[in-house]
Protein backbone atom coordinates (compact mmCIF):
# COMPACT_ATOMS: atom_id res chain seq x y z
CA UNK A 1 0.00 0.00 0.00
CA UNK A 2 2.67 2.61 0.83
CA UNK A 3 3.68 4.26 -2.40
CA UNK A 4 5.80 7.18 -1.26
CA UNK A 5 3.62 9.91 -2.74
CA UNK A 6 2.10 12.34 -0.28
CA UNK A 7 -1.71 12.40 -0.37
CA UNK A 8 -3.87 15.05 1.39
CA UNK A 9 -4.56 12.54 4.20
CA UNK A 10 -0.84 11.95 4.74
CA UNK A 11 -0.22 15.72 4.73
CA UNK A 12 -3.00 16.18 7.30
CA UNK A 13 -1.56 13.46 9.57
CA UNK A 14 1.91 15.04 9.24
CA UNK A 15 0.61 18.48 10.28
CA UNK A 16 -1.40 17.00 13.17
CA UNK A 17 1.68 15.12 14.34
CA UNK A 18 3.80 18.30 14.37
CA UNK A 19 1.08 20.32 16.13
CA UNK A 20 0.45 17.65 18.79
CA UNK A 21 4.14 16.99 19.40
CA UNK A 22 4.97 20.68 19.75
CA UNK A 23 1.81 21.38 21.77
CA UNK A 24 2.57 18.45 24.09
CA UNK A 25 6.19 19.51 24.66
CA UNK A 26 5.15 23.10 25.38
CA UNK A 27 2.42 21.94 27.76
CA UNK A 28 4.97 19.81 29.67
CA UNK A 29 7.35 22.76 29.72
CA UNK A 30 4.60 25.01 31.10
CA UNK A 31 3.76 22.39 33.76
CA UNK A 32 7.38 21.73 34.78
CA UNK A 33 8.51 25.36 34.64
CA UNK A 34 5.84 26.78 36.96
CA UNK A 35 7.79 28.54 39.74
CA UNK A 36 4.91 28.20 42.24
CA UNK A 37 4.84 24.42 42.01
CA UNK A 38 7.02 23.67 45.04
CA UNK A 39 9.01 20.44 45.50
CA UNK A 40 8.62 16.70 45.74
CA UNK A 41 5.14 15.23 46.07
CA UNK A 42 3.57 18.66 46.53
CA UNK A 43 4.95 19.65 43.13
CA UNK A 44 3.27 16.68 41.42
CA UNK A 45 -0.04 17.36 43.21
CA UNK A 46 0.16 21.02 42.21
CA UNK A 47 0.79 20.05 38.57
CA UNK A 48 -2.03 17.47 38.63
CA UNK A 49 -4.53 20.13 39.72
CA UNK A 50 -3.69 22.35 36.79
CA UNK A 51 -4.52 21.65 33.13
CA UNK A 52 -1.03 21.77 31.58
CA UNK A 53 0.25 18.31 32.40
CA UNK A 54 -3.07 16.72 31.32
CA UNK A 55 -3.01 18.70 28.09
CA UNK A 56 0.50 17.34 27.46
CA UNK A 57 -0.49 13.75 28.19
CA UNK A 58 -3.62 14.00 26.00
CA UNK A 59 -1.54 15.44 23.14
CA UNK A 60 0.93 12.58 23.39
CA UNK A 61 -1.77 9.87 23.47
CA UNK A 62 -3.44 11.26 20.35
CA UNK A 63 -0.06 11.83 18.67
CA UNK A 64 0.83 8.17 19.30
CA UNK A 65 -2.17 7.07 17.19
CA UNK A 66 -1.67 9.76 14.53
CA UNK A 67 1.99 8.71 14.15
CA UNK A 68 1.05 5.04 13.65
CA UNK A 69 -1.53 6.02 11.02
CA UNK A 70 1.10 8.22 9.31
CA UNK A 71 3.66 5.40 9.28
CA UNK A 72 1.09 2.96 7.88
CA UNK A 73 0.67 5.10 4.77
CA UNK A 74 4.32 5.87 3.95
CA UNK A 75 7.60 3.96 3.72
CA UNK A 76 9.29 4.17 7.13
CA UNK A 77 12.54 5.56 5.69
CA UNK A 78 10.62 8.51 4.22
CA UNK A 79 8.30 9.02 7.20
CA UNK A 80 11.16 9.20 9.73
CA UNK A 81 12.84 11.94 7.68
CA UNK A 82 9.61 13.94 7.34
CA UNK A 83 9.13 13.60 11.11
CA UNK A 84 12.40 15.50 11.72
CA UNK A 85 10.46 18.74 11.24
CA UNK A 86 9.28 18.35 14.85
CA UNK A 87 12.75 19.44 16.02
CA UNK A 88 12.36 22.70 14.10
CA UNK A 89 8.77 23.31 15.26
CA UNK A 90 9.70 22.91 18.92
CA UNK A 91 12.72 25.25 18.68
CA UNK A 92 10.72 27.95 16.90
CA UNK A 93 7.83 27.61 19.36
CA UNK A 94 10.29 27.79 22.29
CA UNK A 95 11.67 31.00 20.83
CA UNK A 96 8.24 32.67 20.63
CA UNK A 97 6.66 31.37 23.84
CA UNK A 98 9.60 31.12 26.24
CA UNK A 99 11.98 33.64 24.68
CA UNK A 100 14.67 30.99 24.09
CA UNK A 101 17.60 32.30 22.09
CA UNK A 102 17.98 31.59 18.40
CA UNK A 103 21.74 31.77 17.86
CA UNK A 104 23.31 31.74 14.39
CA UNK A 105 24.23 28.07 14.80
CA UNK A 106 20.66 27.22 15.75
CA UNK A 107 19.27 29.10 12.77
CA UNK A 108 21.69 27.23 10.48
CA UNK A 109 20.56 23.92 12.00
CA UNK A 110 16.88 24.81 11.65
CA UNK A 111 17.35 25.84 7.99
CA UNK A 112 19.27 22.66 7.14
CA UNK A 113 16.71 20.35 8.76
CA UNK A 114 13.88 22.24 7.03
CA UNK A 115 15.70 22.01 3.70
CA UNK A 116 16.21 18.27 4.16
CA UNK A 117 12.53 17.70 5.00
CA UNK A 118 11.52 19.79 1.97
CA UNK A 119 13.76 17.74 -0.35
CA UNK A 120 12.24 14.50 0.94
CA UNK A 121 8.68 15.90 0.78
CA UNK A 122 8.96 17.27 -2.75
CA UNK A 123 11.19 14.59 -4.23
CA UNK A 124 9.98 11.61 -2.20
Amino acid sequence: MPTGSITPLIALLWVLNVVLDTGGQLAFKAAAGDPNAGDGLARWLYMARRPWIWLGIASYVIEFLIWIAFLSLLPLSEAILLGSINIVAIMVAGRFLFGEKLTRMRVAGILLVTLGVAIVGVGG
Binding site: L71, S72, S84, G109, G116, A118, G123
Partner: protein, 133 residues
Protein backbone atom coordinates in the same frame (compact mmCIF):
# COMPACT_ATOMS: atom_id res chain seq x y z
CA UNK B 1 38.51 7.18 29.35
CA UNK B 2 35.97 5.13 31.33
CA UNK B 3 33.41 7.88 30.91
CA UNK B 4 33.95 7.90 27.15
CA UNK B 5 32.90 4.27 26.96
CA UNK B 6 29.91 4.98 29.17
CA UNK B 7 28.70 7.65 26.75
CA UNK B 8 29.41 5.61 23.64
CA UNK B 9 27.53 2.57 24.91
CA UNK B 10 24.78 4.79 26.34
CA UNK B 11 24.23 6.54 23.02
CA UNK B 12 24.23 3.25 21.13
CA UNK B 13 21.60 1.91 23.54
CA UNK B 14 19.58 5.10 23.01
CA UNK B 15 19.70 4.78 19.22
CA UNK B 16 18.82 1.09 19.57
CA UNK B 17 15.70 1.83 21.68
CA UNK B 18 14.64 4.61 19.28
CA UNK B 19 15.08 2.31 16.29
CA UNK B 20 13.17 -0.55 17.92
CA UNK B 21 10.40 1.92 18.75
CA UNK B 22 10.14 3.28 15.20
CA UNK B 23 10.21 -0.18 13.60
CA UNK B 24 7.58 -1.49 16.04
CA UNK B 25 5.40 1.51 15.20
CA UNK B 26 5.69 0.63 11.53
CA UNK B 27 4.86 -3.05 12.08
CA UNK B 28 1.96 -2.06 14.38
CA UNK B 29 0.52 0.13 11.63
CA UNK B 30 1.11 -2.43 8.88
CA UNK B 31 -0.72 -5.15 10.79
CA UNK B 32 -3.72 -2.91 11.52
CA UNK B 33 -4.38 -1.73 7.96
CA UNK B 34 -6.51 -0.17 6.60
CA UNK B 35 -6.22 3.05 8.63
CA UNK B 36 -9.66 4.01 9.93
CA UNK B 37 -10.81 6.58 12.48
CA UNK B 38 -12.83 4.07 14.51
CA UNK B 39 -12.64 1.49 17.30
CA UNK B 40 -12.17 -1.39 14.84
CA UNK B 41 -8.76 0.07 13.93
CA UNK B 42 -7.85 0.60 17.60
CA UNK B 43 -8.82 -3.02 18.38
CA UNK B 44 -6.71 -4.31 15.50
CA UNK B 45 -3.83 -2.12 16.69
CA UNK B 46 -3.89 -3.09 20.38
CA UNK B 47 -4.77 -6.72 19.70
CA UNK B 48 -1.31 -7.33 18.25
CA UNK B 49 2.02 -7.28 20.11
CA UNK B 50 3.77 -4.66 17.94
CA UNK B 51 2.25 -1.61 19.53
CA UNK B 52 3.64 -2.73 22.89
CA UNK B 53 7.09 -3.02 21.32
CA UNK B 54 6.72 0.63 20.36
CA UNK B 55 5.87 1.52 23.97
CA UNK B 56 8.87 -0.47 25.27
CA UNK B 57 11.16 1.27 22.76
CA UNK B 58 9.98 4.69 23.88
CA UNK B 59 10.06 3.99 27.60
CA UNK B 60 13.55 2.46 27.23
CA UNK B 61 14.74 5.48 25.24
CA UNK B 62 13.31 7.82 27.87
CA UNK B 63 15.16 6.21 30.78
CA UNK B 64 18.40 5.85 28.79
CA UNK B 65 18.15 9.53 27.87
CA UNK B 66 17.57 10.60 31.47
CA UNK B 67 20.52 8.48 32.65
CA UNK B 68 22.83 9.94 30.02
CA UNK B 69 21.75 13.51 30.70
CA UNK B 70 22.92 13.27 34.31
CA UNK B 71 26.48 13.79 33.09
CA UNK B 72 26.62 13.89 29.29
CA UNK B 73 27.15 17.24 27.57
CA UNK B 74 23.81 18.36 26.19
CA UNK B 75 25.00 19.17 22.65
CA UNK B 76 26.31 15.76 21.63
CA UNK B 77 23.46 14.18 23.60
CA UNK B 78 20.90 16.17 21.63
CA UNK B 79 22.51 15.27 18.30
CA UNK B 80 22.87 11.58 19.18
CA UNK B 81 19.27 11.39 20.32
CA UNK B 82 18.07 12.47 16.88
CA UNK B 83 20.48 10.48 14.76
CA UNK B 84 18.17 7.48 14.84
CA UNK B 85 16.85 8.82 11.53
CA UNK B 86 19.93 7.26 9.91
CA UNK B 87 19.68 3.88 11.65
CA UNK B 88 15.93 3.70 10.99
CA UNK B 89 16.47 4.52 7.30
CA UNK B 90 19.06 1.79 6.90
CA UNK B 91 16.97 -0.74 8.82
CA UNK B 92 13.88 0.05 6.69
CA UNK B 93 15.79 -0.70 3.52
CA UNK B 94 16.74 -4.07 4.96
CA UNK B 95 13.52 -5.03 6.79
CA UNK B 96 10.85 -3.55 4.51
CA UNK B 97 12.72 -3.65 1.18
CA UNK B 98 12.24 0.08 0.81
CA UNK B 99 14.17 1.60 -2.08
CA UNK B 100 16.89 4.13 -1.20
CA UNK B 101 16.19 7.02 -3.56
CA UNK B 102 18.27 10.11 -4.24
CA UNK B 103 15.87 12.67 -2.64
CA UNK B 104 15.92 10.60 0.56
CA UNK B 105 19.72 10.47 0.64
CA UNK B 106 20.06 14.22 -0.04
CA UNK B 107 17.33 15.03 2.47
CA UNK B 108 18.93 12.81 5.10
CA UNK B 109 22.34 14.47 4.60
CA UNK B 110 20.82 17.96 5.07
CA UNK B 111 18.84 16.83 8.14
CA UNK B 112 21.89 15.20 9.77
CA UNK B 113 24.00 18.31 9.04
CA UNK B 114 21.24 20.40 10.65
CA UNK B 115 21.10 18.15 13.71
CA UNK B 116 24.90 18.42 14.11
CA UNK B 117 24.63 22.25 13.93
CA UNK B 118 21.92 22.20 16.60
CA UNK B 119 24.14 19.94 18.71
CA UNK B 120 26.99 22.46 18.48
CA UNK B 121 24.58 25.30 19.30
CA UNK B 122 23.51 23.50 22.49
CA UNK B 123 27.16 22.79 23.45
CA UNK B 124 28.11 26.44 23.20
CA UNK B 125 25.30 27.63 25.42
CA UNK B 126 25.87 25.03 28.07
CA UNK B 127 28.64 26.20 30.36
CA UNK B 128 29.77 23.28 32.54
CA UNK B 129 29.35 23.93 36.23
CA UNK B 130 32.10 23.63 38.79
CA UNK B 131 33.15 20.02 39.18
CA UNK B 132 30.84 18.80 36.43
CA UNK B 133 33.54 18.01 33.92
Amino acid sequence: MKRGWFYLIGFLVLVLFDSVGAISFKYAGMHALPVEANTAWLLRLFGRPWVYGAVIGYVGAFFTWMTLLKHAPIGPAFAASHLEVVSVMLLSIWLFNEPLRLPHVLGAIAIVAGIVCLGFAESREHVPEEGEA
